[in-house]
Assembly symmetry: C3
């Protein structure tokens, strides 16, 4: 593997800010490109974006929003959704505490958003230590901070095989936590897939809690009436009474866009391969000609949540596939259930997520068969009602 | 009408940020100019401003502060005031929730400020729906957000007759609201007047509440001891007991600057023309040689508030003329009174406000006569005490 | 004294932003330099820094963080510490209200930080007047705002004797306060010392409360096991029960780095010279080969706090020397004790602080003798327990 380009796009040591580049080439029968630039106007003023096109699959990474991914495209398949929030929002404009801890929603419009990394999930009061070591109640905000922290270091590598974007994001506070996210986003030329390898490190000496959820969101084109979510489940639990409406039995099938639709969520325990705990989930359109697949290890992300929000097309018509270290309840609740990770001083944790866009009915059938095979290894249970240890 | 210049100053699609331009010319016997630039230093770092001079009237639009207008000048007439906040404040430095929901006051120093557009008025708790459709109590902050959202699109048109500045500002939130303000600020060469045409659109599918108030503020030169506010009123109601002090009968006359003065406010129902509900109000200086007039339709802005704050000259010596969709009480209170507008999905609402600077005693006399004529069509009532449906 | 350079680095009137300069020269046997630049990446994006090297002592002033001083170096002596917060944080990313009013800690990593200037100290509820003159309870946040307000004016003077950096920072709010900090940081060529002359002015007409604390922080190299703090005290009072642990008698000696250490604080009344109330305090390393000395007048800063936090080396291993107008309790408590200053309309208050880095055992011995001489003029009391008028 030969390295063709090795470019520092952003470094805290450099006298220069984010670099605007434009690389192009032809590989694997396609024209690839990488373009980086800074967005302007309104709340996107200053957002640093890296647009990667491997010749087949393209996507835009928002360095300024914790290395989240704004949107992607693979042939006819759209990776992303239309939010009422029209443009990427620079973190300097976000107040997470707004609207009762829901300020995160003012910047929510990406295809791939990390939630965490010290806390994520529903807003709620939690107990932390103040600077004098005294317990204090503080309001944790929806889905934590990492999506609203700009990366301080971003670099690009292009080899003769793939494009690799790396970034570092610090979530730190004196008397609080010192967590660093290092991400590596890789995609091979001509491929319909990409991988996201995240390493979270506790830079401090004290143990620190860590939660991570990938909020991976799809609207049109994959989401439509008749779209279907398929996963090898051990157990599926509706999050709340609302999520039992319409019947849990058909929870994985999507109805039409409905103005005023109230979201539903389904908490999953998934089945994985015996050896590596590898699993996969798929969202496919109505006639199974478009799909997206997530592949990952249950060791990395033991909890999965399906979020259904087929609301009005202009109000955020969207569904979320959400692999995570735990369920997106308040951190206090998740701690009580023993699901919150603690990283020791200096400890790192590395996870891998593969995302595929499928445009070929045969590939979709194959993935469905693969899921079916995993499903056959366990007895799947659809719980008709919420369970007290799954949500609360 | 021939277009001479058509310039995009800011576009979210452009690779460039806010454009610095400097246009000049001579028209209607005056030298006109338009200059755009970015302010630097302290809390004004990054503020995008467009300075327009029609050859007679000049004013500075703050694109970064929701297209508000910082200050203006027309001959000897100063349009604006001196706030303890010395420079325009970039929204990235404003936390509306500060000081019990009064954070808006840290950026308050403009001549013309829009309050709204999803809520405005006094801070107060209101009930909204969270992402799960559950009611939640949230603290709404003073005068809403629109003044602290940067425009994402700004363009300039210069014809052989007038200068037109247009801007778009989005106030949006997933699971909240999706409102867009489009404004057109027009001024003819050599004129002492300008017009502001605002269109607010609900970009979403769900109905959304909408409140708008124009906070139009004057200190010296128009405000001085003996200045007088004149309006054709059906009813004037003091907002609170404090506003009855000094006598409601003379509410429209200004005393001297008084260190420690506590603000007073008077809520107005105005009279308009029978056909179009057109009205006008005027603030004039002591000897009626300087004045400002607002002209608008009561269909657009049925409520008017006069804000009196002749405090110390260095503490914000100012009075506000405030046409609005409703009174600047908390949104909850205004909803209870049936005064809050709701925009249906896709619905737009367009309003027009004309602002004039008068430097000629005869013109001021004419405007006073015009107001008197409207006053003669209705019986005006000065309420001696606050009324429960006007403020609370 | 001849002026060699007189440079405006930042002015709110200028069409240009912060100037990047690089001056060098040789003086007093050393190569001096001044370099100004803007930092990039992550939360330091946009931070304006001025790096001053007098040929012997070097330090970096953060114009964007209220003219605080990030870190310094004098020969082998490091002036500063390692915070879990790795880079200077631009104020646009700070929400002081976060984590129960502790948001200030997300930007805390400087050697020299001003706390204030309208309030400082522990977070706590206080009563202020709203815009209608009514009392309202508001939560004041840890250590106030001044460290998170960018300077709006910065200028540099280089004479044949010294380097002088000046800056202005406004802390203002309509219906609140209008305070301006003007600072002058001076250092002579080849010297190991610098002085900070601060003038705080009430720009308004109404009286305004004012609190100021200098949070001057040291980790390695001066801080190590066996380091010692020396001051001429009248009275030393532990802040809380925690600060009595380990014995108040040896409060001024530092133990080893200890992961999970909970901070201790000691409130001092110091002795000063009879004529000018001049005092000095010193922090020295274990073998008294490195030290730092603060010299100032008790008229300027009557209260002194020693903050001990020898925690894990990666969690913020640090001690703070904190001269102040009052103790860093909540403003409400300090007001009750009669320690909060009020500035009348237009009033200014000027203070001077000299900071020295000592690298020579003899110089350290001399300073210790100087302190001892002052100590001999008073009877020093070490209180074994907290006192109700010192902390609460």
């Amino acid at each position: 593997m030969n390295t063709r380009h090795e470019i520092t796009l952003l470094s805290p040591e450099s006298i220069d800010g984010f670099q605007s580049i434009h690389l192009t080439g032809t590989e694997a029968g396609g024209d690839w490109s990488v373009r980086s630039r800074i967005l302007h106007g309104g709340l996107q003023e200053g957002v640093e974006v890296v647009e990667i096109n491997n010749g087949h699959l393209s996507f835009s990474v928002l360095a300024s929003r914790g290395m989240g991914i704004w949107k992607g495209q693979c042939g006819e398949v759209t990776l992303g959704w239309n939010s009422p929030v029209k443009m990427p929002v620079h973190p300097k404009f976000i107040n997470e505490q707004e609207r009762g801890g829901l300020g995160w929603l003012k910047g929510f419009n990406e295809w791939f958003v990390r939630c965490g990394i010290n806390s994520m999930g529903a807003p709620g009061t939690d107990v932390v230590l103040d600077y004098s070591g005294n317990e204090m109640e503080v309001p944790l905000t929806l889905h934590g901070k990492i999506a609203n922290i700009p990366a301080h270091a971003v670099s690009l590598t292009v080899t003769d095989k793939e494009i690799i974007l790396r970034g570092d994001v610090d979530e730190t506070m004196m008397f609080g936590y010192a967590l660093r996210l290092h991400t590596e986003i890789r995609t091979e030329f001509g491929s319909g897939a990409m991988s996201i390898t995240d390493t979270v490190t506790n830079l401090g000496d004290n143990p620190v809690e860590h939660e991570m959820l990938y909020h991976i969101n799809y609207g049109e084109t994959i989401l439509e009436e008749g779209s279907r979510f398929i996963a090898p489940y051990k157990k599926v639990v509706p999050r709340d009474p609302r999520s039992t409406e319409g019947g849990v039995d058909t929870y994985n099938v999507y109805g039409p866009s409905q103005i005023g639709f109230v979201e539903q969520a389904y908490l999953h325990q998934l089945a994985g391969t015996e050896s590596e705990q590898e699993t996969l989930v798929m969202l496919q359109n109505a006639d199974a000609t478009q799909a997206t697949v997530l592949r990952y290890s249950l060791d990395d992300f033991p909890c999965f949540t399906l979020w259904k929000n087929p609301a009005g097309k202009k109000d955020g018509y969207v569904t979320g596939l959400e692999p995570a270290t735990n369920f997106p309840n308040s951190r206090r609740f998740e701690r009580q259930q023993g699901r919150v990770i603690s990283l020791q001083g200096g400890e790192s944790r590395t996870t891998v997520m593969k995302i595929e866009a499928l445009e070929d009915p045969q590939a979709i059938e194959n993935a469905a068969a693969e899921i079916e095979k995993l499903q056959a290894t366990v007895e799947g249970t659809l719980e008709p009602q919420p369970l007290p240890d799954f949500s609360g």
